[in-house]
């Protein structure tokens, strides 16, 4: 299953910590990460601080991944633009997308639509996971490209893959 595969690829690529602001999709990944037991979990209060934290970890020689919902990218733009990108700090930015297929909440749609445009404007490479069979290769490749290019690279989890959130 995609969440388990993601955790497996993170571990295989020596990612040692997960900085996250949870949503229900990221929660599924975290469950596997907790079960695995080899990651330091860092709960964020706001996504932007996660850019600083993974930067500090990288400077110290440790690889961290940053996980957030699409809403959180809006909170992170200046730190990406003025810290991670100019200082050439590589990390995987794993984004759980709201606002596309099956969205029930109108207030997630605008950021959902803007997501790839913002990443493009920042020059951040991004890849979208839509099918189970592309999770492993895309995750593996995105991590490799991030550390080769010394830049953050984003992987977007679409609702085609993870299902959409129903109103409760």
């Amino acid at each position: 299953m995609w969440a388990e595969t993601i955790v497996k690829v993170l571990k295989e690529n020596d990612i040692r910590s997960i900085s996250f602001l949870p949503d229900t999709v990221i929660g599924k990944i975290l469950n596997y990460a907790v079960k695995d037991g080899s990651f330091e979990l860092i709960t964020l209060a706001r996504e932007e601080e996660g850019v600083g934290i993974v930067t500090g970890e990288y400077l110290g020689g440790r690889r961290g991944v940053l996980m957030m919902q699409s809403a959180g990218l809006g909170n992170s733009v200046n730190a990406l633009a003025s810290l991670a990108i100019p200082y050439q700090i590589p990390f995987l930015l794993l984004i759980s997308q709201r606002g596309e297929l099956g969205e029930f909440n109108a207030c997630h749609v605008t950021m959902g639509k803007a997501l790839r445009g913002i990443l493009d404007a920042l020059g951040i490479q991004h890849f979208t996971l839509r099918r189970e069979d592309e999770v492993e290769i895309t995750m593996r490749g995105a991590i490799k490209t991030a550390y080769t290019s010394e830049q953050p690279v984003a992987v977007i989890l679409s609702s085609e893959l993870v299902g959409w959130k129903d109103e409760k």
Binding site: G52, I53, G56, L59, G64
Partner: protein, 188 residues
């Protein structure tokens, strides 16, 4: 009130190879003017991120004491980072906030610490137990050995004046990064 450059110079005389993360704005100018060294990480923008970057480094490198030189304006922009740092509580983290109660670099406009905000109380409320407010250079000098030797995390709010430092650090972000990582032995 503390002269920030003098306090930074005093601090640097007591360090050997500890990494120092200096916020954008004046903390990086004071740090460079006091002592330029490989273990200095100068932030040219990303206001507020010094606290988070220092936390990430402290978590990744428990073998090093990590010193953050922050400003009141910068930490006010990333107050939530105090709650994250206190929750993780790395004992090797020393967060010094130079509080001149103003946005000095943009002309001295008042920050909220000139009004009702109290950073030490905010840090305590975030969960830090070792929090000091120091308002003279003598008090800073007296407190420093304890801050540098006893396990933290520490938050030190140092009330400073608005004097500037003459030096300007290197401007290339990648030069700063590579030099810093080499000094920490963290390049792969």
């Amino acid at each position: 009130m503390i002269n920030r450059l003098e306090a930074t110079q005093y601090l640097m005389r007591h360090l050997t190879n500890e990494p120092v993360i200096a916020s954008c704005g004046n903390p990086k100018y004071d740090l460079f003017s006091a002592e330029d060294r490989k273990e200095n990480f100068y932030m040219w923008n990303s206001m507020g991120m010094a606290s988070s970057t220092g936390l990430g480094l402290a978590l990744a490198r428990p073998d090093k004491k990590v010193i953050i030189l922050d400003g009141d304006g910068a930490i006010l922009m990333n107050l939530n980072s105090l709650t994250t740092a206190a929750s993780k509580s790395p004992p090797n983290l020393i967060h010094i906030i130079w509080d001149n109660r103003s946005y000095q670099i943009t002309g001295g406009q008042a920050t909220h610490t000139a009004g009702k905000a109290n950073l030490a109380q905010i840090a305590r409320g975030a969960g830090f137990e070792k929090v000091l407010t120091l308002d003279t250079l003598e008090a800073f000098k007296q407190a420093l050995p304890k801050v540098l030797s006893e396990p933290g995390p520490w938050v030190v709010v140092a009330i400073t004046d608005n004097c500037g430092a003459p030096g300007r650090p290197p401007k290339s972000p990648t030069y700063i990064k590579h030099r810093f990582m080499e000094a920490l032995g963290s390049r792969r």
